[in-house]
Every structure is written in C-alpha cells, then in structure tokens.
C-alpha cells in the first residue's frame, strides 16, 4: 500500500512564553493510504489541523518527519503543485470576486483547468461577479473546493471543510466532493470532529486522539471487526484471546463491552450487536479519555494499521 502522507515521530511545538513549549502534535507516526477517501477524526485539540498544516507546508515540523506524495512538503523551491488544500473556514479575499479567485488560481498554478473551474461555478449557480465576502459559508466552501479541484491535484486535503456549514450545505458540499473524486480520482484526506460527515463519504478512517493514532483502517473492515456485547456482568479480562476490549461499561448486573475481534463471538451469554461508525469512533475516543495518556501504547496496539 503506497502512502500519500507518511509521518514518523512527527511533532510540532509552539513557543509559550520565553522558555515554555506547547506541543500541538507530538510523536505522531501514521501512514495515509493512496487512492482512498480518508477521514481523519478526533476531538478538538487532537492535532488534526496541525497535522494537515504540516502536510501542506504551512508549518514546519519541530521533530520527526513528514512526506507528502513522497517528498517533504513545500521545499524551498516551493509550491504545492500536486496537493489541493481546502483550509479550515475556507478563507478568501473578501473584496475579490469569485471570478477573481478563479483567475488567482490560474495565475498561481501551472496546469490550472480554467474551463473546469468556470463550469463548476456555473453548475453551482454562483454569480462569478459576486464578492467572496458576501458568499455564504457553503458557497465559499464550494468555491474553495473548486479552486482545489481545478488544479487537478493528486491529493486533496480538506481541513474541517464542513464544520461551519448548515446540514444542507454540508450535504451538498460532500456530494460535490464525491462527484469530483469520482470524476478526477484524487486521493482525499478530510478531517472532521463529526463522525456523521465522514460516514457518508469516507472509505478509510483514522482516529487521532492527543497526537496518537487510536485506530486506522478500511471503514468496512473496521465495522466488521467490532462488536458490542452485552450480557451478565463479568470482568473484561476473562475474554478469550483475540477479543480486545475497546470500551466497557458496567451496571450492577450487566456488562456492555465494545470489542475488536477477528473471529465470530461464540459465547452464548453475550448478546452481540453490530456497531456503527459513530459508536466505533466514540469508543476509541473515550477509551483514551478514561485512561488518559498514561497508557497510549494500548490504544496503538489495538488500532492495528491495516
């Protein structure tokens, strides 16, 4: 499996005061596969934006290394020719029009597909003469997506592209993204703290909590490999080998376990239910929250990168 983004021990620290440091991302090692629509999900502050900004060269690593499409992002020669980026909150020049932004894309990028960009804006029903400052959040996101697509990127990176959109705009945006990917076939990395958004579009999931990959894998495989078990109260430690407890909750008489298992659950005392993507993400996120950073290795072990 070739990787579009590969990091090793990647860390980014910000200076805090004169001597202090605040690590926004620390010791992050991951590989994001090519040819997939990858959802990068995690709570606020997990380091998603930092990771993506490192990937597009807006930040430089404090430690470790990152390679995007096989090379360090934004070498001194510069440019992000093969990477299309849609930044968080899709910033635009408020006083420039939509058409100006498309021209800007043409001026700053070799291989800009002006016809594609204009066609997309037309299809969206946007007025090219309208100033970007008066666009709605959804329209702005669509223009930003258009600018990214018209570069014919090998990789598209979208940082929380729908976080500030209303549900309808969110659905339309993700629909556009899917169409564009189907048409042009770029790899996509999309971050979000909302699982529901990712469920609709992603076929690969990475859960990032406190800079660590908690779980990563094909969405279908992840869903197939996880089960929710409920039954009489019992110690999670007594489960057979091959069943890893991701999360557990207990009442006086009953236990509910969230397990990863590669084989069918045979124990008849359990009621076995399939899980949704949201269950899965929440289970991995709260696992970390309850155990804290003291045992990061456990989550990493459970989250076998496929």
């Amino acid at each position: 499996m070739s990787a579009v983004i590969e990091t090793t021990g990647l860390g980014k620290a910000y200076r805090r005061g004169l001597t202090g440091r605040h690590w926004a991302l620390r010791d992050c090692t991951l590989a994001i596969p090519a040819g997939r629509i990858v959802g990068l999900v995690g709570p606020n502050g997990a380091g998603k934006t930092t990771l993506l900004n490192l990937a597009v060269g807006l930040l430089t690593p404090t430690s470790g290394s990152i390679e995007v499409l096989g090379r360090r992002p934004c070498g001194h020669g510069g440019g992000q020719g093969r990477v299309g980026f849609v930044a968080q909150d899709t910033p635009m020049y408020a006083r420039l029009s939509v058409a100006d932004h498309l021209r800007l894309g043409g001026w700053l990028n070799a291989g800009w597909d002006a016809a594609l960009a204009e066609r997309r804006i037309g299809e969206l029903g946007l007025d090219p003469g309208q100033r970007a400052g008066s666009l709605s959040g959804g329209e702005r996101a669509q223009v930003a997506l258009t600018m990214a697509i018209a570069r014919h990127p090998e990789l598209m990176i979208l940082d929380e592209p729908v976080a500030s959109l209303d549900p309808l705009a969110r659905r339309e945006f993700l629909g556009s993204l899917m169409e564009a990917v189907a048409e042009h076939g770029a790899s996509v990395v999309l971050s979000s703290h909302l699982v529901a958004d990712l469920e609709r579009v992603c076929d690969y999931l990475i859960v990032l909590v406190a800079s660590r990959v908690r779980v990563a894998g094909d969405v279908g495989e992840l869903l197939a490999a996880h089960r929710r078990l409920s039954g009489p109260r019992r110690d999670p430690g007594t489960l057979p080998a091959g069943q890893h407890v991701v999360g557990a909750s207990h009442t006086d008489k009953q236990s509910t376990l969230f397990v990863r298992c590669d084989e069918p659950i045979l124990d008849p005392s359990w009621t076995v239910r399939p899980v949704t993507l949201e269950d899965l993400v929440l289970a991995y996120m709260s696992q970390t929250r309850s155990r804290g950073a003291a045992a990061p290795g456990r989550g990493a072990r459970l989250g076998v990168v496929s």
């Binding site: 060269g57 934004c74 001194h76 510069g78 910033p91 020049y93 001026w107 700053l108 600018m147």
Partner: protein, 344 residues
C-alpha cells in the same frame, strides 16, 4: 503572481492616483500666477545685480497667503507620505493575510511563499515609489519659486534652506527612497507582528524615529563638512550669540552665502583656542561697549563648519542610495524570513 499583485493593488493604486490628480489640479491651477510673480520679481537674475535680498523679500511678501498654506500643506504631506505608505501599504501586506486567514489560501498554491512575497514587495514597492516620486515631482516644481525666494530673503532660518531638514526631506529624490524604506519597514513589521494595527503603529514610530535620528545625527556627516575662518572686525564684536551651548561672536552676515548649511560656529582667539565669550568678565554685564573693548585685543576669528549649498545633489543621491539600500535589505530579509519560517 504579478497579475495577482496588480489585481490586489488596484484599489489602493486608484486611491493614490485620485489623490495625486487632486494635488496636480490644485497646484496646477495656482502655478501660472505663482510663476508669473516669480518671473516678474527679478529674483531669477538677482545675483547679477547683487540685489537678491530685497527682491526675494518683496517676492515673499507678494505671494498670497493661501499659496503659503498650500506650500506648508505640501511639506506636511511630503513628510507624512512615506510614513503613511509604510503604515497603510506596507504593514498590512502580510499581517492582513494572517488576520483574515487568507495566507492559507495564498501560500498553498503553486507559488512558494518566498516568491509570493518577493513579487508583492516589488509590485507594491514600485507603486509606492512611483506615488511618492510623482508627488515629489509636483511639489518640487510648484514650490521652486517659493523655495528660492525664502532661501534668499532676509532672516531666513536654517530650516528653510534647501539643505535644511524641512526642504531636504521633502524635495527631489529623497522622498522616493523614504517611501521605499517606509514600505519595506511596514512589510517587515507586519511579518513579525502579524496583526495589522500594531504593525502600523510600530511602523509609524520606527519610521519617525529613524527620520529624526537620521536628520539630527547622521545627515550632517554624510560628507565631511567644509571649514571657513572669518576674521572679526571691531564692529562684529558687538553681535554675540549662542552656538553649541557656548557664547560666540556671530560672524558677519556677508561671510555667509545663502543656502549654506552651518553645522557649527566657534569663536577662537589668536592662539587658536576656542573662546566662550561668557567667560570674559566684561561681557557678563550689560555693558556692550566694555565687552567689545575687552574682546578687541584677543583678535578673535570665527571658525565655521558648514555644508556648501552646491552639495545639495550629492546629499540627495547619497541619502537616496542609503535609504534604498535599507529598503532592499529589509525586503530581502522579509522574503528570506517568510520562506524559512513556516509560520502559523
């Protein structure tokens, strides 16, 4: 990238062009009358007849007061323009990208940050210099008759000679270099501070400090001053003054040419020792004659360090070259800094 810079400059450039057009119309409307007054006054040929002082004085008196207002407004604008260019064109250039988040858009396209800034610096910097240059050209042309007359008339202060700090900094080519420097300073401040308003404030403070510090401490020594020794007659000894915190005998007016920039005047005795007239006991009281009588045997002379008026253009070129070099250095540093530090 050049086209993007031009597109983003469009609003500012239009405002600058409109302002220049207003200045051109105002000054142009007043020019025929002003130049007529000048031609009619005979000041242009006064040196041949050695009657410059009365002719220039009567010309200054004949110029209507509202021309004087325009003249001083022009000086004020010429002082403010490079600082304003630094604050309003330079400081926001990068800091506004940070404030609005658009750096994420601009610096993730197919052009490197270093090149992005280099082109923006060149395009907007050249526009700043062109604006400043056109204004200076207009102002220097229109103010020429008044500059000449005030420089020749009786009792002109050192401030209003062409080498004085007011006219020197607001005429000919130095304003262009100041504009380039102010702009580059603003860009560097915006790059480091990343917030527009504080960057504008820092730009203004630093620019004004540099201007004042330069005029006071550095400009007088750009070229080593010339010296002249003036013998003092008995009549001259009654005219005392203060120079450099020391009481001196003022040199006779005839010893000075108009437009000379006097840096220092020292009164020395026949042995060549600097004399503070205040130390002569007869000169402490109000008895001028006793003082004069006491000074006569000392055979005093004045040693004057000055910059001759004909060094005006040498000073202009030196100073313009230095400020342009400072601007280029600041701009180069900014482009280097931005391409080195991947910043958010």
């Amino acid at each position: 990238m050049i086209r993007l810079s031009l597109r983003q400059l469009r609003g500012q450039a239009a405002a600058a062009a409109a302002a220049l057009a207003v200045v051109a119309v105002v000054l142009g409307a007043a020019a025929p009358h002003l130049f007529h007054l000048y031609d009619a006054s005979g000041v242009a040929t006064c040196r041949a007849h050695d009657d410059c002082v009365p002719l220039a004085t009567s010309l200054v008196n004949a110029i209507p007061g509202y021309y004087g207002i325009a003249y001083f407004c022009g000086i004020g604008i010429a002082f403010a323009l490079p600082a304003a260019i630094g604050a309003f064109w330079g400081a926001p250039l990068v800091s506004r990208e940070y404030e609005t988040g658009t750096y994420k858009l601009a610096w993730t396209q197919g052009v490197s940050r270093g090149r992005w800034l280099a082109v923006k610096l060149s395009v907007v910097g050249l526009a700043a210099m062109a604006t400043s240059g056109l204004f200076s050209l207009l102002l220097t042309w229109w103010s020429g008759p008044i500059d000449t007359a005030t420089g020749l008339k009786e009792g002109t202060s050192v401030t209003f000679i062409r080498l004085g700090f007011v006219l020197f900094a607001t005429r000919d080519i130095t304003p262009v270099a100041y504009a380039a420097f102010g702009f580059a300073l603003g860009v560097a401040a915006g790059l480091l501070i990343r917030r527009t308003v504080p960057a504008m404030a820092v730009t203004l403070v630093v620019f004004v400090a540099v201007q004042i510090g330069w005029a006071v401490a550095i400009r007088p020594h750009l070229i080593p001053p010339a010296h002249t020794v003036v013998a003092l007659s008995e009549a001259d000894l009654g005219n005392l003054g203060i120079a450099g915190g020391v009481e001196i005998v003022n040199p006779p007016a005839a010893a000075l040419q108009p437009g000379e920039w006097i840096l220092s005047t020292q009164t020395v005795d026949q042995a060549g020792h600097v004399l503070d007239v205040a130390t002569v006991s007869q000169c402490r009281g109000s008895n001028t004659q006793a003082c004069q009588a006491a000074l006569v045997p000392l055979r005093l002379r004045d040693v004057i360090a000055y910059q001759p008026a004909n060094r005006f253009w040498a000073f202009q070129w030196y100073e313009a070259a230095i400020f342009l070099a400072l601007a280029v250095a600041l701009a180069g540093w900014s482009a280097w800094w931005l391409s080195r530090h991947r910043v958010t």
